[in-house]
Amino acid sequence: MRSIKLASELKIDSVLKPEVLVIGAGGAGLRCAAEICERRPGTSIIAVTKVHSPQKSHTSTAQGGMAAVDPKDPIDRIVYHMFDTWKGSDCSADQNIIKAVCESAWEQIVWLERHGMHFSRTEEGRIAKRPFGGHMLNFGQVKAFRSCYEADRTGKGIMDTVWGESLKHGVVFLNQSVATELLFRNGRCVGAVVLMEQNGKFVAILAKATVMATGGKTRMYQVSTNCRQNTGDGLCLILQAGLPVMDLEAVQFHPTGIVGPGILASEALRGEGGILRNKDEEPFMERYAPTAKDLAPRDVVSRCIMTEIREGRGCVHPDHKLPHVWLDLRHLPEYIHKTRILEVCGFFRKFVGVEPRHELCPVTPTAHYQMGGAPTNEFGEVQKDARQIVPGLYACGEFAAATLHGHNRLGTNSLLELITMGKVVGERVTAYIEHAENPGDIPKDAGSRIFSRFSGYLEANGQEHYAKIRDALRVLMMDKVGVFRNEKGLTEAIEELKMLKDRARRLELSSRSLVMNQDLIQFWELDHLLDISMVIAQSALARKESRGAHYREDYPERSPEFHYHTLAYMTDCGNITLDKRDIDMSIFEAKGEHYEKFGIIERKY
């Protein structure tokens, strides 16, 4: 087996040469793979995933649904969906993407259904639809029935379908494997170096095209809905290659995470009449948002909860020692508890031992989603600056910022993005590999970057403690780079991150094995969490305004001066270069019907 004595023993053990490499086998990565297989049967594809099976990817946990306007719907219109997305983004989504995604939404729902997804049905046997926060008819007038769903497991339905199709077409999976370095030749991406954890071997995968779809990254927050694997590896590979990331300051906090584990307690609970209460059981949302009350947008409700907590009207959980408020579901009729919110209420029973029919449920804002990511154009081609792309490198899903969400995402628009943009990228890759040259032999320096990192971990022998650094990071990010931000806190956070990064160099590994060495992988992940936290903090410090989920107490208004996307480059931690990318306003500029709704509009609910 593979236990190594010296860092110099690290080497590339083998080389694989598929035509396409997909890094990240979640909903987005596999929708893309399925598209390539359908368009060009026989294409050889390797898909890499950190988890035991693609089916275990984080997409499987999404509950609510996927937005799409059914062309047979007599009252809903695609332009309303586009408007809601633009408004929700606080005027910083790209309109070319909004248009492409919303227009192809229904077609992609039908694709999933025809490939076997078990959507919930209407009496007529058609796909059922339900309302969801921020999705309205008539430019924000009344709620729209636009979210297509599979009970409370829509993400699982998508995941099973695209995984099944990939299997059917013979996609090869490398499970329990981590991409550790991107490979380039003359500026073109030619694949990646992957560590297979089950046997401790490094394999260089050389491909004509590489698609990155590694999902989200919010594990640096103390309370987060994200899975254990969401540590920002993909974004760090991008940064290490000298490429930029975009809008990382935009982190969505979901207002109702179950205190402690951070598990998502769906918006549906408030949709059905659940009420937020503070320590004195006062229904405080009435004070902040007299009309929308508990159903105000996610960022607004999260800020109200944090204000209650800061002003001393929160509670402290006796077991988890974390501050929280209450979600009251006691008054909801028995049939609602039994039929509509059974599974989510089950989470309170299972994970905090609370019975929502008779007891108050402890909730707190939880880091949920990254709006930013690797910048791409409308075809999912990864950009090296505001204008040029990196040949051979593509991105889709939560990992990518095309961007559909700008600084705030609407519920149900993420799953939609996976399948629509996943398909677009698949189409583009198919065309590219038709004429692209072979990637050639393995680049001479392949592995050098990851081996030097791993050498660092293998050789370090300090007194620092992994868990202490990890926990300090999580508290720091929650306190100073969380729901509320200000110059003082952000500046302090950047200094503290530098110190944590320094301490992380003085960790000592418990074992030198490369086989399923959790300790080694965690050190590597911790480096990513620290690096990405640094970019979030620096980008947040530079954006001296409030927009969507990015809220600056010292600059509480949105400002026209910051009407752009943040691009950030950082090859070594702390040494950051910021740049800008324009926000696409093509719907507005085309001056078609209703174009005026797509200008710089107010975001009021």
């Binding site: 988890v51 035991h52 259904e113 078990h118 497991r153 584990p261 418990s510 094995s513 959790q518």
Partner: protein, 240 residues
Amino acid sequence: MSQEYDITLKISRYDPDTGRSWIQDYHLKAGRILRFVDLFRQINDEQDPTLAWSSSCEHAQCGTCGMKINGKPLLACELLVKNAVELFETHTFRVEPLTIAPVIRDLVVDLEKAYDRIHLVKPYLIAPAPPHPDGDEYRISPRVLKTYEEATRCINCFCCSTACVTTQRNYLGPNAMLANIVRIMDPRETAEKERLDVLHGENGTPRCRTARACSFVCPKEIDIAHFIALAKEGAFRRSL
């Protein structure tokens, strides 16, 4: 206020680098509502960073953290300390990996091998029916969906397969059977013959002894035995 328990975990260890297996005892103080995955993290943080275990979503949606605790296959993310103490009436817990696939290290098994069984039953539409004449989705009445919807909730945690008395070698196992049955009952699938051949083939229904252990342990509370009973009787209703 919050109650603490003195807990002993007797965990199966395996080191692939030396081939050594042993049982290791860990003593810890644990809060009432900590999950077993939190206990493993606590061991990693405070006592032994080398203990390897798997998880992902940690709220019973992905099926990565299946293992045997005092002999019962379950998801470690779903088991709270106080519930475990009540359920097993002890403060000492024997923790073992699932027996459905080879162990890679400690509690981590090679789920990829276990998944081979699922791949055998082709978890997708082999031959989809022609699309609806309107050009959009198929029409499936909620009543038809209801007959097999329960079975679509399976997350392939392999707890049932571990509990199943006959599974080990030749039987496909309850969850692979379920994955096949879903598509037999799904009106969109036309490859009925191929599916029935696998269902009743030598690794299928003849191997099931109707012990119902699968239904008993399923964390999703799916009545797997009910579906397998339907299969044995050939009692599927199918219509689009």
